[in-house]
Symmetry: C3
Subunit: 461 residues, 3 copies
C-alpha cells in the first residue's frame, strides 16, 4: 500500500519534465545575455575603450563559486546528519536547487526589471538565483525527512515566486539594504518553512523517531557541510555588494562575526549539554549563526568589534534555541523543525535585521565619507535620513515575516493534497522509500549486486 | 601465488622513480617560465607600462583551482562508489593525475609550439595539463578496479602522448574550437578507455562481481565527487576561453546546461529504475552529462535556451545509456565499463561535438559582432565560411574517435603483458590487494594497531 | 572519577567566553579597518583616481579562501584518520582555529607595526592570521588525541604569541624571506608541538593504543583533508607574495614540487611498506611534504626543475621518517607524535629553509632583473649581498628552531597543570570523553533518540 502511494515512477518524472519544459520555453522567449556576456554587445564596449579585464565576470565569479559550493555542498551535506537520509539530503537538495536556480532567474528577472520585454542575465543574476535557492533550502531543512521530492518541487515553485516578490518589496520599494539576506533569505526561508511544517504537522511522527537522529559517520558528513558553509559565508554576504571597499568590508565583518560565534557556540554547548559534553547539533549549526546575523549589516561600517558582538550573540541564542526552544516549538506549537532552522536561520535572521536597522540609523557622513553612496545612496543624496533608513529596515523585517508566514501557510495547505507520494508517518527520515539503497559494509558477503543485475543474469545465462 | 604476482614492491617504485627522474631531466633541459612568470621578463613588461594586476595569473588562477578540484576531488571521489575500492579510487586517481600533469606539460609543450627549443609554461599550460589529465582519469573510470597502478601509469604515458597529438590536430591543424573538450577530453578519454577495457576483457570477472557495487557510505563519498564536478564545470569549460564575454558566456551556458540536465536525470531515473525509485548511479553520473555536452559549444552564442536543451538531451541519453546500453555493451561487445564512462563522457561528448558543429555552422556576424574574432577568428577574417567551420568541427570528431580507438587498442595490448602486477579475476574491485587496509568500525576491540606496530613492540619489550 | 575530572562544563565555557570577551575588548580599543576596507578612506583614494577594481580584495581574496579551506577542511579532516576521534579532530580544529585567527590578528598587529596606536586590518592580515593558525594546527597534530580542548586553547594563546614574535624577528629584524612559511609556520609549528608532546609524555599511552589507528572510512575522510591541502598549497605559498610574476611563480613552483613529491611518496611507500603494499599514512601525509619544502624558495627563481627536485627529496625523507624515525622518536626520545608532524612539517620545513638559504645565496640580477626588488629588496638596493642574504636565511632557521623548542618546553609545563580536564591514559584517542556520541549504523533499532529526547518524552506524556 505505502509502496504504491509513495511510488514516484509517474509523479516525479511528470513534475521534473513539465517544469523543465516550461522553463526552457520561458527562457527561449524571455531571456537574453546581458551586455557583459553577449559577444556583440561586449565588443561594442571593447570598441569604446573597455578592457576585457573589466568584465564583471572577474569581480563576481570567484564569489559566485563560493556561494555555489555553499548551496550544493554546504546545505546538501549539512543535512546528511540523519542516519538513513543521506541520499535524500544531498540528492533532493541537488534536485530542488537545480530547479530553483532556473526558476529564480525568471522570477527575479520579472521583478528586478525587464529590458524591452526581456530578462537580461549575467553573473549577478546567477548569484541572485543561488541566493533565492538558499531560502528554499532553508525551508527544506524544516520539513527534512517528511516530504516527497514532488512536494519539494511544488514548494520550490511557490517559494521562489514569493521570495522574488518579497525581495522586490524590500529592496526596490522600501529601499532597504540586505546584501547578505538576513531578512530576504534567512528570515524568509526559515519562517516560510516553519509554517509549512506546522501545517504538515504529523502527530504520529514518533513512529519514525528512532531514525530521526545521527550516527557517527553521518555526523562527520554533516561537518563537511558545516565547514564549507562557515568558510565561504564571507563570500556569500559580499557576493553582490558594491565593488571596492564594500565587498572587502562585508567579507571581513562576516569572518570576524563567525569566529566569535564559534567560540560562543562551543562555550554554550558545553554549558547546556549533558555532562558538560559538546553536542554535534550545536557545533554543526549554531556556529554558523554569526554569518546569518551580519547578513544585513555586514556591508555597513559595523567594525570588527561590532561584528564580533553580533556573532557572539547569534551563537548564544542559537545554542539556547536548540536546547530550550525547539522542544517547546514541537510540543506546544506543533512545529516539527527537523534541522532546527528556527535556531540557525530564524532567530539569527531577525537579530541580523535588527542589527541592520540600528546600524543604518546611526550612519553618518563622518564615518562613511563618500562611501555612503554605495551603502546608503538615499542618505548620501539627502532623500532620506539615517533614522528613517533604519525605520525602512525595520518595516522590511515585518513585511518579510508577513509574506513568509502567509506564504508558508498557503503552501502548507497545497502540500497537504494527497497527490505527492508523501511518506507515511512510519517511514519518515528514511532513504529507502525513494531510493535504491545498497547494503551495509558489514555484510560484504551477502551484498546483492546493485549496479548491473541485468548483466549478471546475462553472464549466468 | 597471487600475492607474489601482484606485489608492487619492485614494480611500482621502479615505475614511479624512473618516470619522475625522466620528467625532471626533461624539465631541466627543456622547460622555462613564460614571460608572466619569469622575474626578469615580467619586469621588462612592467617597465614598459604593464601593471602587475594585468598578470594572467589573476584571470586564470581561480578557474585553474576549480579545475584542479575537479581533477583531484571530483574524479577521485566520484569513483569511491565501490564498497572496497575507495583507497584505490582516490589514491590511484591522485597518483596518475600527479604524474599526468607533469607529462602533459611536456607533451603539450612539444606540440603547442616550442620557443627557441624551449617549452614556456605558465598558468595556461597548468590548466591545459589538468585538462589532459582529465582524459586519462576518464579512461581510468572504464578500467576501474581491474588494473594495477603500474598499468595505469603506463596507460597514462601513452594516453597523454596521444591526447597531445590529437589535440594538436584538432585545434591547430583543423582549427576547430573545443574549449571545454567535448571532443578532445571527453570523447577521447571515453573511447580510449573503452577500447582498453575491451582488450583487457575478463570473461571471469563475475568472480569479483559481489564487490562491484556500492554501500551506503561509499555512495555518499561518491556524491562529494559528483557535486564538486557539477559545481565547478562552468569553470572547467571557461578556463581557457578568451577573456571577457567569452569566459563569462561559457560559464553561464554550462551552468544552465547542467541545471536542465539534472532535472532530466531525476525524471528519467525515476522512470526507468525499479519501483519508481531513484538510482544513485544515475544521479552521480548522468547529472554531469550536461557539462560534457556543452564543452564545445559553450563558448559560442548558444544562448541559455540552447544550453538547456542540450543539457536536457544529455541527461536523458545518459540515464538511458546506464539502463539499457551498458548491459548490452558488456554482454554483447565484451566491454566492461566499470563507471559507465560511455554514458557520462562518451555519448554526451559526441553529442557535444555535434552541437558544436551545428552551432559553428550557423555563426554570423549579426549575432557575434566583433566578438567573432575571439570565437571563430577564421570566420571573422573571412578565411573560412561558417558552414565550413562546422565541417571542420565534424571532421575533428571523426579524427578524435579514430585516434582514441586505435590508441586504446594499442594500449590495451601493451597493458596485457604479464608484467604489471595485474589483479586476478577473483580479487578485482578490492583495495587490500595493493593497500594496507585497516579493520572496520564495528570490531573496535579486535583492531590491530596499524600505525605504529613497531612502537608497540618496543614499548612491550 | 575520570568523568568528573574531564568534565568540561565549567572549564570550557569559562575559557571560551573569557578569551572571546578579552578579544572583543581589545578589538574594540585597538583595531581599525585599513584603507582598502574603510568606506571613507577608500573613497578618498577613489576620488584621487584609484579604481574600485584595484582594491586588494580582488588580488588576495581568492588565495585567502583557498588558505581558509586548507585550515578548516584540510587540517581538520586530515586528522580524522583516527577511528574514534573524528568529532574532536574536525571539531577542536574548528575551535582552536576560530580562536587563533582572532588572537593572531592582535598579536601580529602588535609586531607588524601599529598605526597611531591602532592595528589596521584587511585581507592581508586575514591571510596572515590564517597562516599563524596553521602553525597552531600543526602542533595540534603532534598532541592529537591526548589533550583537552581547554589545553588546546591555552596552547594556542601562547603559541600564537610566540609565533608572532618569531615571525617579527625572522621577517622584520633578520629580513629573511619566507612567504610560504617553511620556517615560520612549518618548522615552528612542528618543533613547538614536538616539544609540547615530549613534556606531556605518557608512559602508559599503550592503554589507548588500540584506538590510535584508522578504520576504512576514517581513512577516506582523512583523504578529503589531504587532497584539499595538496590542491590549494600553491595558493598558500603564493598568498602574500608580491603581485604579478611573484604570485604566479610561487604557485607554479609549488604545483610542480607537489607533483614530484607525490610520485616519490608512492614509490617509496611501496618500497618500505609491508608486502609492497601502499600505506595510507604515507599517502595522506608525505605527499604534502613538497608543499612544505618550497615554502621559502617558492617565490624565488627556483625553476620548475629545482622545484621538482625539492619535492622529490621532501617526499622521500617524509616517507622514510614515518617508517624509520617516528618509532625511534617515541621509544628513545619519548616523543609521541600522533600525526607524525615531524615527517610532514618538521624535516620538510628544515629542508625548505635550507633550500631557501641556498637559492637566496645564488640570486643574481642576471636572473631576476628588476624583479629582484620584489623578492630581495636588500640585494636589489645593494644593502646586502646574495650570500649574506643566504646567511640571514640560515640564521632565521636557527632562531625559529630555538624559539619553537623553548616555547614548546615552557608550554608543555604549563599544560601539565592538573586543571584542564585532560584525558586519562586509558581514554585517549576517543571522542566520547568530550562529545555526545551517537551509536553506529549497524544497530539501527537500538539507537536512542539523540536529537530530541525532551520532545519524545513530551509526546509520550
Amino acid at each position: 500500500m505505502a509502496a504504491t502511494v509513495t511510488n514516484l515512477r509517474l509523479k516525479l518524472p511528470v513534475a521534473c519534465i513539465i517544469l523543465e519544459v516550461i522553463i526552457i520555453i520561458l527562457f527561449g522567449t524571455l531571456v537574453q545575455y546581458d551586455s557583459d556576456v553577449d559577444a556583440k554587445q561586449w565588443h561594442k564596449k571593447i570598441n569604446n575603450g573597455t578592457s576585457n579585464y573589466d568584465n564583471e565576470f572577474y569581480y563576481r565569479y570567484p564569489s559566485f563559486q563560493d556561494v555555489h559550493v555553499m548551496i550544493f555542498i554546504g546545505f546538501g551535506f549539512l543535512m546528511t546528519f540523519l542516519q538513513r537520509y543521506g541520499f535524500s539530503s544531498v540528492g533532493f537538495n541537488f534536485l530542488i536547487a537545480a530547479f530553483s536556480l532556473q526558476w529564480a532567474t525568471l522570477m527575479q528577472g520579472f521583478f528586478h526589471g525587464m529590458h524591452g520585454g526581456k530578462i537580461h542575465i549575467g553573473i549577478e543574476s546567477m548569484i541572485n538565483a543561488d541566493f533565492c535557492t538558499g531560502a528554499v533550502l532553508i525551508s527544506f531543512g524544516a520539513v527534512l525527512g517528511k516530504t516527497s521530492p514532488v512536494q519539494l518541487l511544488v514548494m520550490a515553485v511557490i517559494e521562489v515566486t514569493l521570495f522574488s516578490i518579497n525581495e522586490y518589496v524590500v529592496l526596490s520599494v522600501l529601499e532597504a539594504k540586505d546584501a547578505g539576506g538576513s531578512m530576504t533569505i534567512h528570515t524568509f526561508g526559515a519562517y516560510f518553512g516553519l509554517m509549512v511544517t506546522r501545517v504538515l504537522y504529523r502527530p504520529n511522527l514518533d513512529k519514525s523517531q528512532h531514525k530521526n537522529c545521527s550516527v557517527y559517520n553521518s555526523d562527520l558528513f554533516a561537518m563537511i557541510g558545516t565547514i564549507f558553509l562557515w568558510m565561504f559565508w564571507p563570500s556569500f554576504n559580499s557576493a553582490v555588494t558594491a565593488h571596492g571597499d564594500d565587498q572587502h568590508r562585508t567579507a571581513m565583518n562576516t569572518y570576524y562575526s563567525l569566529a566569535a560565534c564559534t567560540l560562543a557556540t562551543y562555550g554554550l554547548s558545553s554549558v547546556v549539554a549533558h555532562d558538560g559534553k559538546l553536542d554535534m547539533v550545536h557545533i554543526q549549526n549554531a556556529a554558523l549563526a554569526g554569518g546569518v546575523a551580519v547578513g544585513t549589516a555586514g556591508e555597513m561600517m559595523l567594525t570588527p568589534f561590532g561584528s564580533m558582538i553580533v556573532g557572539f550573540l547569534a551563537g548564544t541564542i542559537s545554542v539556547l534555541g536548540y536546547k530550550f526552544l525547539t522542544p517547546v516549538l514541537e510540543s506546544k506549537l506543533k512545529i516539527q523543525d527537523t534541522c532546527g532552522v528556527h535556531n540557525l536561520h530564524g532567530m539569527p535572521g531577525v537579530l541580523g535585521a535588527i542589527v541592520g536597522a540600528i546600524t543604518a540609523s546611526v550612519a553618518s557622513m563622518d564615518v562613511y565619507g563618500d562611501g555612503m553612496d554605495d551603502v546608503f545612496p538615499g542618505i548620501h543624496s539627502g532623500q532620506i535620513s539615517a533614522s528613517n533608513q533604519g525605520v525602512q529596515q525595520a518595516i522590511s523585517l515585518a513585511v518579510t515575516l508577513g509574506i513568509a508566514l502567509l506564504g508558508g501557510l498557503l503552501t502548507g495547505f497545497i502540500l497537504k493534497l494527497p497527490i505527492y507520494a508523501t511518506p507515511p508517518d512510519t517511514i519518515c527520515f528514511e532513504d529507502s522509500i525513494y531510493w535504491e539503497v545498497p547494503g551495509e559494509e558489514d555484510s560484504h558477503e551477502e551484498l546483492t549486486h546493485v549496479r548491473t543485475a541485468e548483466e549478471e543474469e546475462k553472464i549466468n545465462a
